[in-house]
Structures are given as structure tokens and as C-alpha cells.
């Protein structure tokens, strides 16, 4: 081997090594952070009820997971961290028929998908579970299985599908029982809808996008108020609001998520600084 060839090979090897190191570093940087277990608060006083309290309550779980403060609309985490999180969430929205969208547009679309005109529709893998839950709302807990049969008859569903629906209903009942044992759901309470699962994520992203300057402030605040209003209408208590966001993890048997929920979620229902405590008070005064 001539010295020139050796230098050539060494240069190529160095380039490959640098590329590998860069890729490794980028992966390390974009790895999901472990979910925080202790809630962070900006202040020490109990949270007063404002136009955004309900929205903060909706986003509390996602916010806690990300290590953000729960009791203020303005985020306190470093912008770089928020932007990294937003970029990951908005990635599926980056490409459209018009070409590559800028990040602010993609983030706007992502938040709009969660809190915009389709906010009261459940999509993706949760749709089947939501459908079953909706028949409990229609018929009441005692007549749940009858309501499923009644609908299945109207829709002329095959027997196997109907059996699958009853099976899902039983899984939901078991998961709710587990949530009651953990102290998240109260006695006799049930999850009225899974919509908060999307809203919680949306509120957290909207807050971050406002802070990052990737979402117009007025538009962002409108989303937050809307999320609060929707939650106020759909969830009779803070416990049901929280349980709705945890139910999918319990149904899928995600052991790590369940362990985290059992440690991190119950204090949100008792800490006077928590927006969920303010939400509970708001529901009582608002409905009385």
C-alpha cells in the first residue's frame, strides 16, 4: 500500500466516523426524555380560577410529563427544549401538496388538528374504544351492554364484531376499576369520553408554541379557552378529566405508563396549586 492510498483511506475513514458520530449525537439529543414524576409550579399560592384554568387542567398531565410548570400559561422550560418537542410533534405535518411547510405552519396545523374544528372527534386507534364508551353515555352504565346490542342491531354488525365490542366494554370497566383503586377515579365515576386525551396533548403543545413564537398568541389563547370550555362541558369532575387521559395506557397494559401514572397523577388531585384542584372547584361552582 502506497502512503498516498493510506492517506486517502484514512481521510475516507475519518469522514465516515464523523458522520456516524454526528448521527449518534443527533439521536441522543432527540431521544424522548423520561417523564417527570414531580409536578413543577411557578408559584406557591393556590391557583385562582381564570379563563385559562380549565385549559391548564386539561393539559396538566402532558405538562407534568414534560417537566413544565402546571400553574401558568407561559412556559418556563428553555426554548430549545420546547422547540425540539414541537418539531417532533409537528413532523407528520411538515409535508403537504404545497410542498415543505415551515415549522410554524406545521405546528399550527398540528395544534389545530387537536383543538380546532375536529376537536370533538376521536381519531386513530382510540375510535373503537370511544364508540363503545359513547353507548354507555347513551344508555347509562346499567344498560351499557344492551345499548351496544341495540346499536349493533341497527347497524347489522356481524356477531364477532358485537362480541369484540362487549369485550372492549369489559376491558374499559376493568381499567376504570384499576383507576378507582389508584384513587384517580372516584367511586361511581366513569370516563364519559376519551376526547381529553387529544386535548391534553393539544393544550401542552399550544402553550409551548406560543412561547416559541410558532403560534400567533391570540390564536393560541383561543385554542386554550376552547379546550377549557369543551372540558367543562364534557367532564363533570377533575378525576374523570384525568382518568380519560390515562385510560388508553391502562387499556393497552403499558406497564411503564401505568407505574408513572400511579406515582405522578394522584398528587395533581390534592395539591392546592394544581389546576385540577381549581378545575374541580370551578365545576362545582359552575354547575351549581
Amino acid at each position: 500500500m502506497t502512503p498516498r492510498l493510506a492517506v486517502l483511506l484514512a481521510a475516507v475513514a475519518l469522514i465516515l466516523l464523523a458522520a456516524a458520530l454526528r448521527e449518534g449525537y443527533q439521536r441522543w439529543r432527540s431521544r424522548p426524555a423520561p417523564p417527570a414524576e414531580i409536578a413543577r409550579y411557578a408559584g406557591d399560592a393556590p391557583l385562582p380560577v381564570t379563563a385559562y384554568t380549565c385549559a391548564l387542567a386539561v393539559g396538566a398531565l402532558s405538562t407534568l410529563r414534560a417537566g413544565e410548570v402546571l400553574d401558568a400559561v407561559g412556559c418556563r422550560r428553555p426554548r430549545a427544549r420546547i422547540k425540539r418537542e414541537l418539531r417532533a410533534a409537528a413532523e407528520p405535518y411538515r409535508r403537504s401538496v404545497l410542498g415543505e411547510e415551515d415549522i410554524a405552519t406545521a405546528v399550527g396545523r398540528c395544534v389545530n388538528d387537536l383543538l380546532g374544528p375536529g376537536a370533538e372527534t376521536v381519531g386513530g386507534q382510540l375510535q373503537g374504544i370511544e364508540e363503545v364508551i359513547r353507548h354507555r353515555v347513551r344508555g347509562g352504565p346499567e344498560l351499557w351492554h344492551l345499548a351496544i346490542d341495540e346499536w349493533a342491531g341497527r347497524a347489522t354488525l356481524p356477531e364477532e364484531t358485537v362480541a369484540g365490542l362487549h369485550d372492549t366494554a369489559e376491558q374499559v370497566e376493568r381499567a376504570e376499576e384499576q383507576l378507582r383503586r389508584t384513587g384517580i377515579l372516584g367511586a361511581g365515576e366513569v370516563v364519559p369520553t376519551l376526547l381529553a386525551y387529544h386535548w391534553g396533548h393539544g393544550v401542552h403543545l399550544a402553550r409551548g408554541a406560543i412561547k416559541a413564537g410558532w403560534l400567533d398568541r391570540t390564536r393560541g389563547f383561543n385554542y386554550l379557552r376552547r379546550a377549557g370550555e369543551l372540558a367543562h362541558r364534557r367532564y363533570p369532575s377533575a378525576r374523570t378529566l384525568l382518568a380519560a387521559q390515562l385510560l388508553p395506557a391502562y387499556l393497552s397494559g403499558d406497564a411503564e405508563a401505568i407505574r408513572w401514572a400511579e406515582v405522578a397523577a394522584p398528587p395533581l388531585l390534592t395539591d392546592p396549586r394544581s389546576p385540577l384542584v381549581a378545575y374541580a372547584a370551578h365545576q362545582v361552582t359552575g354547575n351549581s
Binding site: 502506497t2 502512503p3 380546532g116 370533538e120 370511544e130 364508540e131 342491531g153 341497527r154 347497524a155
Partner: protein, 288 residues
């Protein structure tokens, strides 16, 4: 120190491939520049060598919205503004079409009597029937009730009914804006979104011909089918335009009334005012 012999063979090949790639890209960009320039100028392009009157020209005019957005002359059978490479990439990435079979399937899908949005089809059909019975545009409340009653009678899932309700809200909002912007007359409403599919079918046939995925005769037949269906369903070019516009914004705009909304409002205004527009030079063909 000697340079290894293989370098003398590999280096020119690599260099040649690099230069060829640049040449091909520049050629493709130059061919697409005309379309980009036209779409930026927002003028109706006409090919003076192609017929501008007659049955076939009228069928081509059904795709005028999209021709204008892509800078294509409205009266050409073969796309005259975009390179094959660009069209191929567009079809592959946005439509999942890369061979004859897929193109045929796509065209047949566009030319049937259903859009990709069965929820929107259902709610608009219900409104047309309701308006026919009442001889006036029903208010949103009556429309929602009729949709809920019709959907429940058919055993439509509750989650899909939520989608229907959300779609009604969206249609109402868009139509209000359409009326304010002159896309609809004061008492007008959109009866069907099929214009969006048929308008795209005209352009899909154009692209297929350009990529030699279909022959000229087949392209003509597809375009004539699109025209025949449009002239049987709608009552005027403005009516067709409103149907096309609503289909496009419901699919892409996400209630932002921003870039996507502009891609339907501007062409609508141009096509109804530019003296070169077929919507002014051609009368609305009555169903033959």
C-alpha cells in the same frame, strides 16, 4: 507514489454522473419554470393552437381551477407547463400513482359518484333533500337534526356522527365566508363536493398522457366523462367552482382561511373575471 489504476476509471464516471444529474435537474426546472411563472402571475393561460370552443373544450374547463394553480393552459390535452419529472414526482408522492394500473384506478375513483369524504357526502346529500322538501336553505340546527336522525336510523357509529356534526359546522363556516368573498351568492349553498374530484380527474388525465401512462384517446374519454358528469350535476361555472372550492378547503385548509383558502378564492375570482377564461367565453353546457 502512484495513483491506483481504478481511480482513472471511477473518477470520470462519478464526475459524469454528477454533471448528468445537474443537467437533468436544470432541464426539468427550466421546463417547469413556465408553469411556475404563469401560476405566480395568476393569469388564465390559453394555447392558441388548441380549440377554445366545443364540447371537449368545455370538458377541459371543468379542470380550470387546477390548470390555473399549476400554470397549465386550460385548453390543452397534454400538460404544457410542467416537466415529466415534476409530474412523475407529484403523482408518486402525492397520489401514490406510478404505473398504468394505479393511474386507471385513481381516475376511476375520481370519476365515480363518491368523493373520498363519505361523511361530507352524506351531510350535503341530507341538506339537498331537506332543502328540496322545504324549498329553502335549512338552518344548521334543522340540518344537524336531520343528519342525526338519518344516520342513527342507518346505525351509523356515534363517533362518525360526531364527525358529521363537526363537518356541518365547518361547511356552515366556509359557506359564510364564501358568501362574504363572492364564492357563493347570498342565498347559495354547495350541493356536492364531486366537482373537486372531477376537476382533478381532468388534470390527472393530462398528467397520465404526459407520462405516457394512458393514450390520447383514453385521456380524451376520461376528460369527457368528467365534463358530462359535472354538467349534469351542477348548474353553472360558479356553482361548479363553489363545489370544487369547498372540497379542497375541507380537505386541506383546516379552517385556517389562509394559504389553502387563497388557492381557491383567487382562481375563482380570476376565472370569473379574466376575459381569457373559458368560464366567460364558454356558456354552461346544458346536459345533452
Amino acid at each position: 507514489m502512484e495513483i491506483p489504476t481504478f481511480v482513472y476509471f471511477v473518477a470520470p464516471i462519478v464526475l459524469l454522473a454528477f454533471v448528468a444529474q445537474i443537467v437533468f435537474r436544470m432541464r426539468s426546472a427550466a421546463r417547469s419554470a413556465r408553469g411556475m411563472a404563469r401560476s405566480l402571475r395568476n393569469v388564465v393561460a390559453v394555447d392558441q393552437h388548441e380549440p377554445t370552443t366545443g364540447e371537449f373544450a368545455a370538458a377541459l374547463a371543468v379542470g380550470a381551477h387546477m390548470s390555473l394553480n399549476h400554470g397549465v393552459s386550460w385548453n390543452v390535452l397534454k400538460d404544457d407547463a410542467n416537466s415529466r419529472t415534476k409530474i412523475y414526482e407529484n403523482l408518486k408522492n402525492q397520489w401514490g400513482v406510478s404505473n398504468r394500473g394505479e393511474l386507471r384506478e385513481c381516475l376511476e375513483g375520481l370519476l365515480d359518484n363518491e368523493t373520498g369524504d363519505s361523511v361530507a357526502d352524506f351531510v350535503l346529500d341530507v341538506r339537498v333533500q331537506l332543502a328540496g322538501r322545504r324549498r329553502t336553505l335549512p338552518d344548521p340546527h334543522a340540518w344537524r337534526q336531520e343528519v342525526a336522525a338519518g344516520a342513527r336510523a342507518q346505525g351509523v357509529p356515534e363517533t362518525v356522527l360526531d364527525d358529521m356534526t363537526a363537518t356541518i359546522e365547518r361547511v356552515v363556516r366556509y359557506e359564510e365566508r364564501f358568501r362574504a368573498d363572492g364564492l357563493l351568492p347570498a342565498d347559495g349553498f354547495v350541493k356536492s363536493l364531486l366537482a373537486y374530484d372531477w376537476g382533478r380527474a381532468v388534470n390527472m388525465a393530462r398528467w397520465g398522457l404526459k407520462l405516457r401512462l394512458i393514450g390520447e384517446q383514453q385521456a380524451r374519454e376520461y376528460i369527457q366523462r368528467a365534463g358530462k358528469q359535472a354538467f349534469g350535476r351542477y348548474t353553472s361555472w360558479a356553482d361548479l367552482s363553489a363545489g370544487y372550492s369547498l372540497g379542497r378547503v375541507l380537505r386541506f385548509d383546516n379552517d385556517e382561511f389562509d394559504v389553502w383558502y387563497a388557492t381557491v378564492l383567487e382562481p375563482h375570482q380570476i376565472l370569473l373575471t379574466d376575459p381569457a377564461s373559458p368560464w366567460l367565453t364558454l356558456g354552461w353546457p346544458t346536459q345533452r
